[in-house]
């Protein structure tokens, strides 16, 4: 990357200030942003929502909407100042020289136009080539983005291909005119983990193959590490630190960057050894930013006169190669090594008797097919096998994670468990009582109160029409048996204290709360009836890193306190690794592997677990991973493979037996089971996927760069 510095930069943003103008006045979205991008370089911009990272991308495209504008500074693209260009000149550049890829592929493609038409339009409009030539080129690019069967994709409509394929098509569309700059705004956030891994690899390969410069925007430090050469960390509208991946990830200098790292679970950590340390406070609103350092009020190293005086400018970090710069008045004084304390562990929770036993649980949905074809063939009713033979148990105080990608049946299982659906076959015993066939309305009050749920979407979990107080009160009056108004109110106040929210939230409506606060109320509501078991369906996946860390820690604390069994449903293995005691890996309605966290994360692995582990983005450059990218798509649940559910994508496929016979469940030891045709001995030979260097190795590699 340093060798490229001799070339002229592709893009140069200098002292950029971007504001939005609303009825409430001017809102400075981005302040003092400078970036230089050389050909073939990939720059990552990382930050939490509202930090201005997408605004930067929009400004580079000069596509700010009616109320946004560049207040000062310049954007120079290939020597031309873009801020002075006319609409027509910009139109020439957009799509041909600068292409943008958005978060949601299904929103980027026009659903009523064939993919071929959408693709060939790009070179035809920008280069005026013939449709035939454009078709050839589109086909070639589709091959380059590793889409299987590109001819079929060309003739398909967007809804006929999967989300991962759609995103590949969008990337292909971006690459069609061979742009010099590609802007990627969270391109994998809407995708499943194993699909994400494929796209990330593709993005990393693009710059090598096409020489395209890229700006990669993400909230995920791990993905940035895998794709980028340099990284910019943004906070509240300004860059707080920039540097090469190696230098910034191994020696971060800004307290906010430290804070971010402390908020993400690393593969070395688990909840008892090293709890996450959330950043206190909240992101300031753009018009409420403090004097001096914007991060000041949340910073552990804040000193009155130094940090809240004049606005702090970016300063180069001496002794660091690779142009590492930081916006902190005290970076020299902070002892960066001691920022991450060690040894403040928690005692593991003592686990008790079995509280949940799932035995051969089956849940089929019936789908009635009214087409003429189905009528003639007599196959009117088809079954969606959402859950097929689930077996596992959970003890009191234990955290069991169910991991799997979308469509694996984990949410269906939660519904059956909660009584929103009834099972087709099999049993779920909760405290020894069979509940899988009892709908929630027929369960006793005690059964209902002992099984509660925390939902995924913070914006949906609370009823917008009622105050926080009344929503929690309702749970208490329903389950707590209390009827006195004063007592209920006291209890609600207690719960607000427990979830660390101020008491006057009692009177607030959900719209006056931030996402993290809503999720805390969701937790308070779930724990209000003193449940023996709580199901958390991706409770933090919609939250920002630092907020998610705080909510996760809160959940762990309450669980520890109340000795509740937690069933944690997630697709994110790094979070799961951090907080769970046991893991159940699901795929297409079946459990492929289950065991303790340690057992899941070390060989023998099920081949699918292996791929999932490889897909975890890890924000630590010292950790090495074996790369396993799964081919193909998740099969449809309407039409699953006859044999092993994973046989269509399995990299360790051993032959016809995989396709035709359901694999046996093999017991590795104790409570560790793998459902695979490959013998355990063979699976045990597999090398570990994630290699975490020991402390000694780490010390050795860190210090020489100093």
């Amino acid at each position: 990357m340093n060798t490229k510095n001799s070339q002229a930069p592709i893009l140069e943003c200098k002292d950029l200030c971007i504001s939005y103008y609303t009825r409430a006045g001017e809102i400075p979205a981005v302040v003092d942003f400078s970036l230089t991008l050389f050909p073939g370089e990939t720059v990552g911009i990382v930050g939490e929502s509202g930090c201005g990272k997408s605004t930067v991308a929009m400004a580079i495209m000069q596509y700010m909407g009616a109320n946004g504008g560049i207040k000062s500074g310049s954007i120079t693209f290939k020597g031309q100042n873009m801020t002075h260009m006319s609409e027509e000149e910009l139109r020439q550049i957009r799509g041909s020289e600068i292409a943008m890829i958005y978060q949601e592929p299904f929103a980027s493609l026009n659903p009523s136009v064939k993919i071929s038409t959408q693709l060939i339009e790009v070179p035809m409009a920008h280069e005026g080539i013939s449709a035939k030539e454009a078709w050839q080129r589109a086909l070639q690019v589709l091959k380059d983005v590793k889409l299987p069967d590109p001819e079929r994709v060309m003739n398909a409509y967007p809804h006929q291909i999967s989300g991962g394929q759609q995103q590949r098509v969008v990337i292909a569309m971006g690459l069609l005119s061979n742009p010099s700059l590609l802007l990627l705004d969270e391109p994998t956030t809407a995708l499943d983990v194993t699909v994400e891994a494929g796209i990330v690899k593709l993005i990393a390969d693009i710059s090598k193959k096409y020489g395209t410069s890229q700006i990669y925007i993400s909230h995920n430090l791990g993905l940035i590490l895998e794709t980028c050469d340099r990284v910019f960390v943004m906070y509240s509208g300004e860059v707080v630190e920039e540097g090469s991946i190696d230098s910034l990830f191994s020696r971060p200098r800004h307290p906010y960057t430290h804070g971010l790292f402390a908020c993400i679970p690393l593969p070395t950590a688990d909840k008892n050894a090293a709890p996450l340390r959330p950043i206190r406070g909240q992101l300031p609103l753009p018009h409420e930013r403090p004097q001096g350092c914007y991060y000041g009020p949340r910073c552990d190293h804040f000193i009155a006169a130094t940090c809240d005086g004049e606005h702090i400018m970016m300063a180069p970090v001496e002794g660091s190669a690779a142009n590492h710069r930081v916006r902190c008045a005290r970076w020299r004084e902070i002892e960066h090594d001691r920022v991450i304390p060690e040894g403040i562990g928690e005692q593991p929770v003592a686990v008790g008797e079995y509280i949940l036993e799932v035995d051969k649980l089956q849940k089929y949905y019936e789908v009635r097919d009214n087409s003429l074809k189905a009528l003639l063939s007599g196959k009117r009713i088809r079954h969606i096998k959402a859950n097929e033979e689930l077996n596992f148990r959970a003890r009191k105080g234990e955290t069991v994670a169910i991991v799997g990608e979308s469509g694996c049946g984990k949410s269906t299982f939660a519904k059956v468990l909660m009584g929103l659906e009834t099972s087709t076959n099999g049993e779920i015993r909760h405290n020894g009582v069979e509940i899988s066939e009892i709908a929630v309305r027929d369960r006793s009050n005690k059964q209902v109160s002992s099984l509660q749920m925390i939902f995924q979407n913070p914006f949906d979990t609370l009823n917008p029409s009622h105050t926080i107080g009344s929503q929690i009160s309702r749970v208490i009056s329903k389950f707590g048996g209390k009827t006195e108004k004063g007592k209920i109110r006291e209890k609600v106040m207690n719960l607000l204290d427990i979830v660390k929210l101020p008491r006057d939230f009692y009177y607030r409506k959900p719209r006056q709360l931030s996402g993290g606060q809503k999720q805390r109320i969701g937790i308070a509501r779930a724990f209000a009836g003193k449940p023996s078991m709580v199901i958390a369906d991706e409770p933090v996946s919609a939250l920002d890193v630092s907020v998610a860390a705080a909510v996760t820690e809160l959940l762990m604390d309450i669980q520890r306190e109340q000795k509740t069994t937690l069933l944690f449903i997630s697709h994110d293995l790094s979070v799961v690794r951090y907080l769970s005691d046991r893991i159940v890996v699901m795929y297409l309605g079946q459990i492929l592997e289950r065991g303790s966290t340690e057992e899941i994360f070390s060989p023998p692995y099920h081949p699918y677990t292996e791929a999932l582990l490889s897909a975890i983005p890890i924000a630590d450059p010292k950790v090495t991973k074996r790369e396993i990218v799964l081919e193909g798509n998740l099969p449809s649940v309407m039409n699953p493979p006859k044999g092993c559910p994973f046989c269509t994508r399995c990299p360790r496929h051993i032959g016809a037996i995989c396709d035709n016979e359901v694999p046996p469940v093999q017991q590795v030891n104790g409570r560790h089971f793998i459902k695979c045709h490959i013998s355990l001995d063979e699976l045990a030979q597999v090398e570990e996927v994630i290699h975490v260097p020991s402390k000694a190795e780490r010390q050795q590699t860190v210090h020489p760069t100093q």
Binding site: V448, F455, N463, H466, K500, D504, Y507
Partner: protein, 297 residues
């Protein structure tokens, strides 16, 4: 992360339901269209309330037939809008007629809404055969031309205030049901509804407490528009002779009674027609204003 400080409870910033109502009305001030609508409606409400004091004559008293607007009566008072063929003062009749319209129109709308909302909640939330039955019934009702429906219903059960309400409810609740059903289909998949289900709440509580309040935005706007249509309907029924039985003043009925004299005495028809239009305009403008605010938030 917020600290667990024991903040004293400050209720005054949230206030009583009345204060919050005032606050939402204050929001309406940002839409001048809505304000004009509200002003027109307020004007007619005042007229209705103060009719006994404002009206210069007895509404049903026959005083001086065919008096042109501005004619001074024997007693010295002026017929500002003239009198009709039976010698009744038109202005006084319009003022007293406001009471009829502003009593029956909101009442009929309210009853139609109650029925429509209950049907819509049941159809949308429970689905299945309940939805099928209710939807087909509403399809059948909606497939009739509204006017024919009114003529049949009133023809069968007779013309009276209550029967007007019944007819309007019968004809407009299917439309309301459809709106509610559509809103419920979306709202019932929200997590807070699932949360209520998982704590074992009854269906009625979920429908009325968890779902309905969140559908109120579009419903309030629709109610304002529908109120306007109901006023037209009451006018039309009066005009067709299916409205309130005479002699009590009714705007539609006033137009009906004098329509064959419209060419010679246009003021007899125009004044009540104008009253009807202005009130409807008021409700439509208010609906526009409410919609504008709803979009903005």
């Amino acid at each position: 992360m917020a600290t667990a400080t024991q903040t004293t409870i400050t209720a005054d910033s949230y206030g009583s339901a009345f204060m919050r109502g005032l606050k939402s009305f204050a929001l309406l001030r940002e839409s001048w269209v809505g304000m004009i609508g509200a002003a027109i409606i307020l004007f007619w409400i005042l007229v209705a309330l103060l009719a006994p004091w404002l009206a210069p004559f007895e509404p049903n008293a026959s005083i001086q037939p065919f008096a042109r607007p501005g004619t001074v009566s024997a007693a010295g008072a002026t017929f500002w809008l003239g009198t009709d063929h039976l010698g009744r003062d038109i202005l006084s009749r319009i003022m007293w007629g406001t009471r009829t319209v502003l009593f029956y129109a909101p009442l009929a709308t309210l009853v139609a809404y109650t029925v429509g909302i209950l049907m819509g909640l049941a159809a949308g939330y429970r689905g299945g055969w309940i939805d099928d039955v209710l939807s087909r019934i509403s399809d059948i009702i909606l497939s009739f031309p509204v006017l024919v429906l009114y003529i049949i219903i009133i023809g069968v059960i007779g013309a009276s205030g209550i029967n007007i309400i019944i007819a309007i409810t019968f004809a407009s609740s299917p439309g309301i049901m459809r709106i509610v059903r559509g809103l419920v289909l979306d709202l019932r998949n929200r997590d807070y509804v699932a949360a209520a289900q998982t704590r074992g709440e009854s269906d009625w509580r979920i429908m009325l407490v968890e779902i309905l309040p969140n559908a109120r935005g579009p419903l309030i706007v629709d109610a304002c528009l529908r109120l306007g249509y109901v006023i037209i309907t009451i006018g039309v029924l009066g005009f067709l002779g299916l409205g309130l039985p005479p002699p009590d003043p009714d705007w539609g009925g006033m137009v009906n009674e004098t329509r064959h004299m419209a060419i010679a005495f246009p003021y007899m028809v125009l004044a009540p027609s104008f009253a009807i239009s202005s009130l409807i305009l008021g409700f439509n403008l208010l609906a526009d204003g409410l919609r504008e605010i709803a979009i903005r938030d």
